[in-house]
């Protein structure tokens, strides 16, 4: 489609040539690890899918304990293609978190967080935390017995933190237990507060990536780098990857539509073998490893403190890894990254199959 008059009209008002020059002038290093660069783009694409499908579902969802579950059943059974958009939203969320973890561990093992990109890591890590909270808040909106039990356990676990635990639990639940207030609160988080925070953080994250450019692994620094322009070379490759992910997403949505359980009943006992979403399984398994009491202290509190400490260390890793910051190899932090990855994978697998 060629519209010279429209192009001219826009050119008169905005510096489109400048944008074009910027896209063509942006160079991306080409090397054997450049596949990792695409994981960030895939995550961004999946976030866009989540925003679009979420907007469609928000048109019909009713955030009230008496109608929430029924409104989802109506979206799935009565609306034209409603089941498909709900399934896309579900699988989009799962894939977004999978790719966020791949992106995170790729960045960690290639030491892309090193000076001067500390804030790229920090914003990315916060985005992962927000995405997990997106998952938890979205899970409750279904208001079925499994979601209810899982959120009750998750918010109860947060309450085990010393000093701030009680406040976090009360803040999340909005009352003593998981009730209609919690549903409304999680709905507000899911559709208003978290999307705004995400948009802002994605903006800062992308801006920082543009500012610093793409990071090249330390092991390849000595080699002569070949660079290709972002537009059109990488742009077309990104497009191909996004298309493949779309195919995968649609296939999963068609073949594995998510189930809807029975409506939550706060007075009923929790269903047997309730498990949280897969990205919380490592946490659940870790909590199981600890006894009820250690040296007179609550075992769960100690476990949550240790996990929080490990996550905090992970979050601040760019500031601890001074060797990488100086441009030297730091095998210790590579091993730390491998141990974190193996622990996460093993515990998730054990939790999944137990």
């Amino acid at each position: 489609m060629n519209c010279p008059r429209l192009k001219e009209w826009l050119e008169e008002r905005y510096d489109l040539e400048g944008v074009k020059r910027l896209a063509k002038g942006k160079l991306i290093p080409e090397h054997r690890y450049d596949l990792w660069y695409y994981t960030g783009g895939i995550t961004l694409f999946l976030f866009i899918v989540q925003f679009l499908t979420g907007m469609l579902m928000a048109l019909y969802y009713v955030p009230h304990i008496d109608f929430a579950h029924k409104s989802i059943i109506e979206i799935v059974t009565k609306l034209n293609m409603g089941w498909f958009f709900r399934s896309l939203h579900h699988w989009g969320a799962q894939l977004a978190i999978v790719f966020l973890f791949i992106h995170l561990f790729g960045t960690l093992l290639l030491k892309s967080y090193r000076k001067p990109r500390e804030f790229v890591w920090i914003t990315g890590f916060i985005l992962l935390g927000i995405s997990i909270f997106f998952g938890l808040s979205g899970y409750l909106l279904l208001w079925d017995e499994r979601a209810f039990a899982a959120v009750r356990v998750a918010t109860g676990g947060a309450g085990a933190l010393p000093l701030v635990g009680g406040f976090i639990k009360a803040f999340l639940r909005g009352s003593m237990d998981v009730t209609g207030d919690t549903l409304l609160r999680f709905y507000a988080f899911h559709v208003a507060i978290l999307p705004i925070l995400t948009l802002g953080l994605i903006g800062v994250h992308i801006l920082l990536v543009q500012l610093h450019g793409m990071s090249v692994p330390l092991s390849l620094k000595a080699e002569k780098q070949r660079e290709v322009p972002f537009f059109p070379n990488v742009f077309y490759k990104d497009l191909a990857v996004w298309l493949t992910v779309t195919g995968l997403l649609v296939t999963l949505a068609v073949f594995l539509p998510p189930e809807i359980g029975m409506k939550a009943d706060p007075l009923a006992p929790p269903p047997e073998n309730v498990k949280p979403e897969w990205y919380f399984l490592f946490l659940m398994q870790t909590l199981k490893l600890f006894p009820g009491a250690i040296l007179g202290m609550n075992g769960e509190t100690i476990a949550i403190l240790l996990v929080s400490g490990a996550i905090l260390f992970f979050f601040l890793i760019p500031f601890f890894d001074s060797k990488s910051a100086r441009g030297e190899k730091s095998p210790l932090f590579t091993w730390i990254g491998v141990i974190y990855l193996l622990y996460f994978l093993t515990m998730t697998a054990v939790g999944f199959f137990s």
Binding site: T77, W83, L243, T244, V254, P257
Partner: protein
């Protein structure tokens, strides 16, 4: 005790009726044939009714009409054909871009005269 006695009586009664049924089957082959025919006729009814009882609890999250299911799978196949086609076109486009870049003729000459 009284309750146990009632249950015992019931089972005795049940035993009597089974004995009666066996005697009847042994003595009358026609009765046996009728019984078998009724069982065979009821079999598909039971087979249909059993999963239906489970389905009352399960909420359908996928179209149930065979025609709609066929449309969904057909659309998915067409979708994948379109994706694969687009991937081939993108691959060709990237090769073309790289070929032009290797020749070094993609850069615009700022002093080139323009024909208007």
């Amino acid at each position: 005790m009284q309750r146990m006695a009632i249950i015992g009586k019931y089972w005795r009664k049940k035993g009597d009726s089974s004995r009666f049924l066996l005697q009847k089957v042994g003595s009358c082959p026609l009765f046996f044939a009728r019984l078998m025919a009724a069982a065979i006729l009821l079999l598909p009814v039971a087979a249909v009714a059993a999963p239906a009882a489970e389905k009352i609890v399960k909420i359908a999250v996928f179209p149930t009409a065979p025609y709609y299911i066929y449309i969904v799978y057909e659309s998915l196949a067409v979708f994948w054909v379109a994706i694969l086609g687009l991937l081939v076109i993108i691959r060709m486009k990237i090769r073309e871009i790289e070929r032009v870049q290797a020749l070094g003729v993609e850069k615009e000459d700022q002093d080139a005269p323009l024909l208007k």
